[in-house]
Symmetry: C2
Subunit: 166 residues, 2 copies
DNA sequence: CGGCTACGCGAAATAATATTGCGCACGGAA
DNA sequence: TTCCGTGCGCAATATTATTTCGCGTAGCCG
């Protein structure tokens, strides 16, 4: 990572790959306005520098039989770092928990969970999550429908911001 | 879609592509145990049938200068379908809002927002979100840190479930 | 001002991969 | 048994990825 700062071409690459992670390198090169070899080099550099954390196919949960999505707000009894870490590790071990974010405010964590059906989730909720050590309170909300689910960051906002300071 | 049901090979394909969306087709074919051409045919079929909704590079928000992630709980004044749809459309138009889920319970929507800094988010919050038509209440929580962020669904759970009924 | 170095680009060559066309085998229905 | 429909693998071709190489430019010292 020579210059940690990204130039406009790097940002364009990231934006394109965020929108379509399976784009071929030649197509990507065409879109960002350079030839294929330097484009590939940039992509590799961005991957190694950690700007790109991976590539994933987005699968349709409901189509696959995962009918239930739930947000769970969790409060802990102890917020000591050791206990926070323990709870986070437990979340990593639960496959139904897809995301675990520590929050400020009255609630300590928000969890995004996915399950095949309500009974599977209920079992998890009562037998695992609520029953877990140090868990003081759990409030769950079922997702009725999803109006927007965009991955990553809004590059449009980033460009606006850079133009302002430039 | 001849048989809407997926066979074990299809599920393996989905699991592999969810874990690594840029895997080459020959590597994928090797892992699922068939040759490349039928593997590619299956992938195309899965894409067209909507099981695969797209491919995305996962970018590191903070590394890119998006320091702030916020969950916003939104309550509306009217829950009539027309008004719900209007609010959802507004969320789609706001680039800072990456996800918008309608919930059951006391809160109507949960929004996941990303912003370059706190002041950008505050401006959005006060001038756009809170000020929007039909919005009754907004409660926000800053993300302190993220312990887990897995995309998609847990295929391990799916396999367990299928084995149980089989 | 001249020359040195570092960096990034593009062209061409090569290796790997994607994609197409075809023939074969299996399993269900007439 | 015979006839399809479905899905596989093999082989050939088209595309793409990747490496190698030489060129031009910007920054930097002597």
């Amino acid at each position: 990572m020579p210059t940690s700062r990204l130039d406009p071409i790097d940002r364009k690459i990231l934006a394109e790959l965020q929108a379509d992670g399976r784009m071929t390198n030649v197509e990507l090169a065409k879109r960002v306005g350079i030839s294929a070899p330097p484009c590939l080099r940039r992509v590799r550099t961005l991957e190694e520098a950690g700007f790109i954390r991976g590539y994933h196919a987005k699968v349709d949960s409901r189509e696959l039989g995962f009918e239930v999505q739930v947000f769970a707000m969790v409060g802990l009894q102890s917020q000591a770092e050791v206990d926070l870490s323990k709870f986070e590790q437990r979340c990593r071990d639960w496959p139904l928990v897809r995301e675990c974010h520590m929050l400020n405010g009255e609630v300590d964590f928000i969890l995004k969970c996915v399950a095949p059906d309500l009974s599977t989730f209920q079992s998890f909720l009562t037998e695992q999550l609520t029953a877990a050590e140090n868990v003081a309170s759990v409030k769950t909300s079922l997702v009725i429908r999803c109006a927007k689910d965009e991955p990553g960051v809004p590059f449009s906002v980033m460009e606006e911001r850079l133009n302002r300071t430039a």
